[in-house]
Each structure stands twice: as structure tokens, then as C-alpha cells.
Subunit: 510 residues, 2 copies
């Protein structure tokens, strides 16, 4: 088993099918496969040996997909760099796993100087952006034009496929080691639960360096279907592309979906091709789901729970649980059940399984679970125990095995000896008609140890004061759970995946 096999399969069966559409560029799988085999040859010529890491620091494009398949075809290992990172973070991730080649596009070429100055091992730069390659960089198109196509190196199975550095919402970056088996096993349950739509074009908006975006891209390759790529999110452009390219599926975070719904052109576009939408789980998704289904009632919605260490999907809540009845019963707030091959348990701090309905730590076992953290045996031993991944996420399971996330355990607030799950408070705040986004954190408090603190972004024309918001909370949850303080802001700091960066919120207000 090796991830490039799916490309070989399409080349054998449907070489004339469209592989990628990016702006004015569109290519068949025949063309894509030829470029992949040449890119693999070029990388080998530049010294990439079996198992060597190659990074990419770029927005989404057709070339990002060529990078994924080309590195594997040539026998290498991916290191997709987080585009939100500062130079020191990028350098950390490159140095940590000896990434000798880095592909950059025009949006990130300017970071090369800083990387050169500080990296222990300065990578070879390949410029995959528009226009001429800057001085000191090799041109991506020139390399492909000059290289000979090579045979698929055929690395697979337990061989390392990708090192994906986690960061953003939690501490120091750790290189998550994902094997070919891991990635394949992660794609299969999703493909069984939501079988590929024949001739179904996927729109990539979520960034490909992120595990969710990449896994979805791999499923599209496995299905042998077409990719349409946008370099980033722009509500108007997303609506135009869905109509123009007859997009069937896409993956969005709730904030993006809300932007689409608020866009003045929403109703002017023919969005009838859109059959499925996967959204990242979020505390405030409930209201978004209602709005979305009110406008596009036939849309199949699903959302998933996952993490980079699980490549990423642990569980998915499927369209059948987004019906009106499921929304009323609360089942739509679940993140679904453990997928095919994936075991999920809720355990207490001693690692013992807790009764159904009791909150504890979510632990996961399955063929999709990472091999470990690169060069970090202690962190690996903490995360992987007896084959189980300890996620650090809090949740509970109902009698039918449906999983409900309550919080990151470290986001749990302990106030006056009581546990408060920030997600529960956020769920309440999000239901207030004036609230666009919110985040709840614990802040140090002399008397209570921690106090519940809320940061709220109001909707553009909405008005509410903090006292009204606190009273609103009190209607639904116990007093000790209600925010002791509420702060109104214009925006929340978000990760590339659209998650609120609570770490940043906890820092002093800039």
C-alpha cells in the first residue's frame, strides 16, 4: 500500500479526467501524472533520497497537489509548512527534521532571507510562484521542464509519508509522523460513510498544509475525481467558483460558512451543484447549521472530530444526523461515532473507562493513529500509551456510542473547585442573537483560583452590553458557569483551521 497507487490507478483508467483546476490553469490526470513523475525526478536530482523530507510553504494551488504526489512518487516525505507561522517557527520545523528542500510560492518567497539567516541547515529553495524565480532559488517550472520522468519509488505501508508539525492552539511544535498506512486508513472510513460522488468536483478552500485539507485531497485522489483550488477564502469568489465549476463538495469552517451566508450575492448564484459540505466542529456551529439548511435544504452536512495525530478523523457526524429531528434531539451536536477501524474510549485520569454520559479524556486507537512525534520520545510516550492516543480533549459518549466534545482538557476552567467546560458557556453565548463569535477562558482569580472570562465579537449591526450577555447566560446555566467578566472585541485570533487561538487570548491584550 502506497499513496501514489491511486494516481497510477487513475492514469490507467481515466487519464483524460480533469485532475486540477486553478484559476486559468486546468490539466488532465495524464498531464498531472507526467508533471508529478518529472517533479519526482527533479527532486531526486537535487538529492532527495528515500525518506528525505521536502517542505512546502505556499497557499493552495495545483502545484501544492503536485508537491504531495511528486515527493511521494520520488520516495520522499512531506513537511507541509504552516503558512501562519513566523520565521522562527518555520525554521524550527525545517531544522527539526532536516528538511533540505523547501518549495515556496510568491506569497512566502520574502521569508527566504530570514530562513537563510537562522536555519541550522539552509534548505534549497524552489520557487513555485508566478513570474521569475528570485535570485538564489530554482524555478519550479524549469525543473519540471528539464527533468526526466521517473518510475514511482513505491515507498508505502509503514514508511513515513508526512511529518506534520502541530502548533497554533497548543505549545511547542511537534512533528507528527504519519505513515502511508496511517493516511490510507484515515481515508477509508470517510469513503465508506460518504461514498465518492461520480464526477464530483471538490473545491479546496481550507489550506492544504493542514491535515484536514490534505486528507480531503487524498480522498479525492483515491476516488479519482477532480480538484478545484482557491488559494484562500474569499466569500464572493467561493460563490462564483461553486457556480462556474459546478462544485459538488467542499470543506469549510463555520466562520467561512457564515461569511457566505452573509454575502449579498448568495442568492444570486446557482449553488444547486453543491451536494455536500463538511464543516469543522465548532461550539457555535448549531446556529450556522440552521441558517445554512434554511437556505440550502438539500445540502448533505457532516462534521468531524479529529486531530493531526489521528490523520485526522476520529469520528464523523453524518448527514443522517443533521435532519430536523436530529437537530432537535441534539444528535447533530455530536461529532459522530468512531469510524471504521477506529476505537474510541472516554477515560478518567487513571486511564479507566468511565460510564456513558460521564465527561473524561477521549482516547483513540486505530490504524490511522500516528507513528509518534519526530525525535520526541518523551512526548510520544505521553501521547501514545498501550497503542492508545491520549487526545487531551474532554468529551462524553452516549449509550449509542455517539461522541460529544466538551473541551480541550486544558481549556477546562476550575473555579471554586467546580469544573466549567468553556464550550458549554460558549454554546450559550453563541445563541444570543447579537453574538457573532465568542471564546471562554479561565483567568487567574484570587478567591476562586480561576474565573470564567468571555471574549465576545458582536454581529456587525447588533448591540448588546456585557451585563445583558451575562444575564442571558444565567437563564441557561448555573451561576458559577456564567462569565464573571465579558470583554467585547472586534475579532478573535484564529488559527489557519479557523479555531480560536485561546493561547493568544490568554496573553495580555495587545
Amino acid at each position: 500500500m502506497y499513496m501514489t497507487q491511486c494516481l497510477q490507478r487513475i492514469l490507467q483508467q481515466e487519464p483524460q479526467r480533469i485532475a486540477t483546476v486553478f484559476g486559468d490553469r486546468r490539466q488532465t490526470y495524464q498531464q498531472f501524472g507526467d508533471r508529478v513523475a518529472r517533479l519526482a525526478g527533479a527532486l531526486q536530482t537535487l538529492g532527495m533520497a528515500a525518506g528525505d523530507r521536502v517542505g512546502m510553504l505556499a497557499l493552495n494551488s495545483d502545484r501544492y497537489l503536485e508537491y504531495i504526489m511528486g515527493v511521494w512518487w520520488g520516495g520522499g516525505v512531506l513537511n507541509p509548512v504552516n503558512i501562519r507561522w513566523s520565521v522562527p517557527e518555520i525554521v524550527y520545523a525545517l531544522d527539526d527534521c532536516n528538511t533540505a528542500i523547501l518549495i515556496v510560492d510568491e506569497h512566502f518567497a520574502a521569508l527566504a532571507e530570514g530562513i537563510r539567516k537562522t536555519a541550522r541547515q539552509v534548505p534549497r529553495f524552489i520557487y513555485a510562484g508566478e513570474g521569475e524565480a528570485p535570485v538564489g532559488m530554482l524555478g519550479y517550472e524549469q525543473l519540471i521542464a528539464q527533468a526526466a520522468a521517473v518510475e514511482d519509488a513505491g515507498r508505502g505501508g509503514d514508511d513515513l509519508a508526512c511529518i506534520m508539525y502541530t502548533g497554533g492552539t497548543s505549545g511547542f511544535p511537534k512533528g507528527v509522523m504519519q505513515s502511508h498506512w496511517n493516511l490510507w486508513s484515515a481515508c477509508m472510513p470517510r469513503m465508506v460513510d460518504m461514498p465518492p460522488i461520480r464526477d464530483g468536483r471538490l473545491l479546496h478552500v481550507a489550506p492544504l498544509f493542514h491535515v484536514a485539507g490534505m486528507a480531503r485531497a487524498l480522498i479525492q485522489f483515491l476516488a479519482g475525481e477532480s480538484h478545484v483550488l482557491l488559494s484562500g477564502f474569499d466569500a464572493g469568489e467561493v460563490l462564483r467558483v461553486i457556480e462556474r465549476e459546478r462544485i459538488c463538495e467542499t470543506l469549510l469552517v463555520p466562520t467561512m460558512i457564515l461569511s457566505l451566508l452573509d454575502h449579498p450575492d448568495f442568492d444570486r448564484h446557482d449553488l444547486s451543484s453543491l451536494k455536500r459540505l463538511t464543516y469543522g466542529a465548532s461550539p457555535s456551529a448549531g446556529e450556522m447549521v440552521e441558517q445554512l439548511l434554511a437556505r440550502l435544504p438539500d445540502l448533505e452536512l457532516s462534521h468531524s472530530y479529529g486531530l493531526t495525530e489521528a490523520c485526522p478523523v476520529v469520528s464523523s457526524n453524518l448527514p443522517c444526523n443533521h435532519t430536523l429531528a436530529a437537530r432537535r434531539s441534539g444528535l447533530s451536536r455530536s461529532v459522530g461515532r468512531g469510524g471504521l477501524g477506529v476505537n474510541v474510549k472516554i477515560v478518567d485520569p487513571q486511564g479507566h473507562e468511565v460510564p456513558r454520559g460521564t465527561v473524561g479524556e477521549i482516547i483513540v486507537r486505530g490504524p490511522n493513529i500516528m507513528q509518534g512525534y519526530w525525535n520526541k520520545p518523551e512526548e510520544t510516550a505521553r501521547a501514545l500509551r498501550d497503542g492508545w492516543l491520549y487526545t487531551g480533549d474532554g468529551g462524553y459518549m452516549n449509550a449509542q456510542g455517539y461522541l460529544f466534545i466538551v473541551d480541550r482538557l486544558k481549556d477546562m476552567i476550575v473555579t471554586g473547585g467546580e469544573n466549567v467546560y468553556s464550550a458549554e458557556v460558549e454554546n450559550v453565548l453563541a445563541r444570543h442573537p447579537a453574538v457573532a463569535m465568542c471564546a471562554v477562558i479561565g483567568v487567574p482569580h484570587e478567591q476562586w483560583g480561576e474565573a470564567v472570562h468571555a471574549v465576545v465579537v458582536l454581529k456587525p449591526d447588533a448591540q448588546a452590553d456585557t451585563e445583558q450577555l451575562r444575564l442571558f447566560c444565567r437563564e441557561f446555566i448555573a451561576g458559577y458557569k456564567c462569565p464573571k467578566s465579558i470583554e467585547l472585541r472586534d475579532a478573535l485570533p484564529l488559527s489557519a483551521a479557523g479555531k480560536v487561538l485561546k493561547r493568544n487570548l490568554r496573553q495580555p491584550n495587545p
Copy 2:
């Protein structure tokens, strides 16, 4: 990844779902899981250590499914014995891989004496049939009643899961080593291509010792759905059970399907629950498909090509290729395209890929391909070369990657220097209205080396003489392909999988 994980998953999510229905017995997954964990405990008490083989020689029943899961749960390896075999063949398969425990039912208990007399290592017998255990055998139900439930041993991944002895249509039995990864990887493509039907009851008619029956059972476990079992094929009983149990899916060989269609009660039963039917590929399937779709036009038909060494499915031809248009174009005669993760190539005797449309040997690579033959390094080296399984089957591939089987290569007839594929001749004969079944083989001939010889079974009330049949062939195929001799018989020797045993036909007529 371990195959028992799917059972754990059902026990967590849907313990009250019906697991098995066999005659008057029906049990939930809760009950099934409890019996599996006890059977595992009993086998361990009898000495089954991790990786030890346990055989079963029995017709289909709920206990056969308990055997499959129970042996794995306890850490053992399956050796499902071919029910058509003679004592010497059975003893060979037991001795070859040191099978120390053999479960038998009432239909095969009488063979124990012969096994005891000739086996190098006499196995412990467990009697899983009706009534009291014969002297010298342990009682299956007593063992389960007395045993303590044990934890899942959790063997999986590349660990050996099953040794399945091939035999019947070709030479000396060889123990095909199938790992947990092999079996899982074999199930996944089928589950993506034909997603599980929710609350879909599967009827087991095909024998569970055979790879096709077992793989289909595993898919049902993975889907977490219900099994209904018949000990064997009886057309009237199959029709009654489909109606009574609201069966959604089943797997049958064409001869069984023809029996159903010919049954006087066919139209008296409500078969509306039957959504899908998978049939084993067969030269004479075309006519069967037409008859079947004429009677049940909404039925989703698929057929697969596979072999024990591929666990078993290589390719599947899906319902979309059984439409009227696909039948007219000939696409329904294909066995489909290589499944997810499965590479298929057609090669010449030197191992080079041949152009599309050219007949050659089918070779296959993928995570479903066996680990090798037990204790047979030379046979393994011949079958597995550079990771490719050489199937010994002849076929060609069209421009879209659709695979067409022409023959077992050794069933190819060389007459006067010309290659004749027996399947081509059989396809023509099968179209004659009087022909029920036929098989074409090569027989020694002084002048031509081999001569084409046909063995034909006529339909009950049909009449045709051999000269009429030969003239019929001549209308469609070249003279050198037409049978030089035709023999009429009352029946053909069939393997348990419903394949004609050509080896037996080549032996002197008894």
C-alpha cells in the same frame, strides 16, 4: 488494525442489533460478543497460544461466525477446512500447518475417525453440531458455558489471520497466508464501491470456508449489520428466507441463481427486500443476468473477479455496468476495474505489460495480496514476484482499465498452433437455447496437439444433438475454435464455489 475491532465497535454502539439468525436461533451482538469472548477463553484453555491454528469443518451456521471471531479474539489463526475434501486432503491441510484443534459439526463428525487414523498430529475435536458430542469430542456449548470471557488478544496488522487452503480446480493444496491487514484491505474497496445498506440483512448461502463467503461475512461485521445463515443451498428455502427475514443482500453463483429462477415458487414470494446480488463470474452468466433482471428489474447486480491469494477481490463490476446499455455494449461481461489500492496489469510471458486489448496473464499488486504460501517458499516465489501476484489467469484490459477474463492460462487450448480460450467457446455454447451448462477443455490429439472438446449439460426438457451444437458454434466463431467433439452429460463436477472442476473433466470418464 485487527479484525475483531469491528466487533468491539458494534458492541460499543449497537449491542442490541441482531448479529445472527440461523434456523430458530437468533442472537444480538451483545450475546454474540459474549459467546465469542468465552469461546476465545475456552480455546486458550485448550492450549491455543498466539498465532496457533484452529480448524473448522462444518456447514454454515451462526457457530461458524463465532469460530471466525472467537479464534481471532483469542489470538489464534483460522484454518477453515474445505467441506468438499476427502479425509487425505483434510489431513494434509491440518498437518501442514499444525492445526491442533478442529471444530466439526454433525455433518462431518463421521470423518473424525479417518482423521485420527492418518493425521501426523491428531487434533483435539470440538463438536459444534446438534445433539450430544460424540465420544472423544468436547462439546462446543459446554465449553462456552464453562469458559470465562477473555479480553481481545488484539493481534492484528501483519499478524497472520487465516490460512486458507486452495484446491479444487488446481493441483496440490497450498496454504494461503492472509494477514489482518490483507483481509481489511480486501474489504475496504468493496465497502466504498457498494456502501453498506443500513439495517441490511445479509443471507449467507455460499460456504463460509470459502474466501468469497468469508470476506462477505467480514464486510457485514465491519458494517455492523446482521447475518442470516443457511447451512447450504436449497432454492425453495432461499426464497422463503429472503421473504421471511427481509434479506437485502446475498452472494450466489450463477447455477444457484438459475435454480431460483426455475423454481415454481419464485413468483409467489415477496422478494422486494432484496436490493443487491453479487454473483461469481462465470462464462454463462450473461444469459442468467438477462433472466434475472427481467424478473427483478430493480436488483443491483455486481460480480467480482478474485482468488484466494487476493483475499479475494481483485476487481468488481458494479451495478452501473449492468444497465441495458452496458449489457448491450458488452461492458457487463467485464469483471470491472482494479479496486481501491489494487494494481492490475496484463503481462506477456516475460512479465512485460502488453497493449490494451491484448490477452496475457493478469498480475495484481495491493495490500490485499497474501503474505505467501505456508511453508512453500518455492511456490511463493513463483506466485509473488516483485510484489506482484501472478494469477495464472488470462485476460485483457480495455482502454478504460476494464478487465475481461478469458481463461485460466492452463485452460487455454493450443490446437494446430492456434490459441483457443475455452471461455470464448463456452460463451457461444451457453447462448444455445438448449444448453444449461457447458465446459470446454483440450484433449490430446495426434494431428493438432490438442483438440477442442466440449462437455454439455442440456436443460431439463430441451433437446439438441451434438451436430446441431457444433453448427451453432460455427455461426459465431472460427472453425478451429469449434469443438471437434461434444459430449452430453447429466451434470458437471462443481467445486464448492460453483466453478466447474475441469481437472476432473480431464480425467477418464468414470
